[in-house]
Every structure is written in C-alpha cells, then in structure tokens.
Symmetry: C2
Subunit: 116 residues, 2 copies
DNA sequence: TAAAGATATATCATATAATGATATAGAAAG
DNA sequence: CTTTCTATATCATTATATGATATATCTTTA
C-alpha cells in the first residue's frame, strides 16, 4: 500500500493537484504534461520522473483510473469520483488558505469586530 | 520552468506560508505555533522540528528577521520587506491555482463559452 | 515546596516528495 | 537518415517535513 502523508490527510501536493485537474478529461501522461504547461501559461513544467511517479501513486489510491491502453504506447487516465471529491475539497482548502492570507495582510485577522 | 528549491523559485511551501503569515506581527517560535493553530481553527499543527528548521531557513534568506532576544529563552522574529513581497506573490499564486481549479471543474477552461 | 503541565528552543534520524539524469522506443518531419 | 517530438519508466539524489527526543524555564496548584 502506497504511503503518502499528504493523501492520508486528504491533501493534494501542488503536482498532484495539477495532474488531477488535467485528468478532468481523459488524457495520457504526455498529454498531462502539455495540459499543465498549457493551463499555467508555461509557468509549470512537470518532468517525467514527477509525472509517472505521481500517476502511479494516484492510480494506486484509485483517485484516477486507466481508461484506455493504446497498444503499449499510450496509457489514458481519467479522474475517478473519489478523485473529483478530493479535488473539490482541495480547491476549497486552497481558497481558504489564500483568504486567510489576504485577511492577515489587511490586518483583519484578529477576533470579531462586532462594532456594536 | 520551475525546478529546484521552492524559495529559489519564489514559491512558499505551505509550512513556510503559515509561518510567514504569522510573522506579520512580531512573534517568537512557540507563539507562531499557537498562531497557526489559531488561524486555522486547530486544523494545522506545526511541530518543533518543522518550526525551527523553517525559521532558520527563512532567517537565512532574510525573509524574516530576529527583532528581539529575551535572555536565552525567547527569540522574537518578524517578517521583512522582502518576506512581505514574497508572501503577497504567493497569496496571488495560490489564488490563481484555486481559480484555475474552479474553472476546470466547471468545464470553462477551454475557449470562451459565450452561451450561444 | 514539590510536582505537573505549559512554555520554549533545538537537533537527529527518518519519512515523504520532487526531480534531473538516464534509458528505451515508436512516430513525424525534413 | 537523422533529428525532433512523442511516450513511458526507473534510479539516484536532493528537498522538505516531521516524530522522537533532549534540555531548560516558567506557571500553576496541591
């Protein structure tokens, strides 16, 4: 069984996040690499070591599933129902983290200002 | 093409992010631990190994600075100007990542669906 | 005042995660 | 034919996080 603290805690690492997002449509590994580059306007480039390592882990956790095998050449994956659930949770986690950041920067983090 | 260390790429890890946010006000290590627990409604707990390791790293990069030393007991840190800059950038990065996630989930990532 | 629990910092060994380098090979383009 | 792109895969190393442990002070309370 695959170890992984992030997933055990229902968190996605950034790389897992990008990969899971890409797999909202069926894609093979190399396509994921291109999709991520595309989604991030070339900001994020994921190499083969990260890509196939993470694909294997997500697959073992059944967050993604192999949907097609083109001979030996292409392996097409897609996100699973539980993968979608986790992805949604992680988007919300990321929103909460960013909101928290904005609040603290604006100095609004302390207590409730009931003003009355 | 971001590779290598998070800070070299102007990215903050989650732990660094929480710690830098906490240091928008002067705080010593143990206070940071409590602040993070507080900010996250007890969701995030950072242990001493992570805390002091990261504090040392942020300090070496001058993203935070030692502002006071209470005898040998307390070391009070605060975020620096460059730390604040990086923090702002990272909040925006996190917002962009979450927005991207929402778009893809809603199936709006490809082209513009003008509803016609 | 003794003990307990909270505060406070620090490091080691290990676990987890990411990635550059490398290997292999088919397909497309020139 | 040879270069480039597509495509998957693993190894060795680096990067990051953390549980366990150590040490010491301060605070509360029995």
């Amino acid at each position: 069984m695959p170890r992984g603290k992030a997933l055990d805690d229902n968190r996605l690492t950034d790389s897992m996040y990008y990969i899971l997002l890409s797999l909202m449509e069926p894609l093979h590994g190399y396509g994921i690499k291109q999709k991520i580059s595309d989604l991030s306007n070339g900001e994020i480039e994921i190499g083969p070591a990260s890509l196939y390592t993470i694909l294997k882990k997500l697959s073992a956790r059944e967050l993604i599933a192999l949907v097609e095998e083109d001979g030996e050449r292409r392996k097409t994956y897609q996100i699973s129902a539980s993968g979608r659930d986790l992805l949604k949770r992680d988007i919300n986690r990321r929103i909460r983290m960013a909101e928290m950041g904005k609040k603290v920067l604006l100095g609004l983090q302390g207590g409730n200002d009931d003003g009355k």
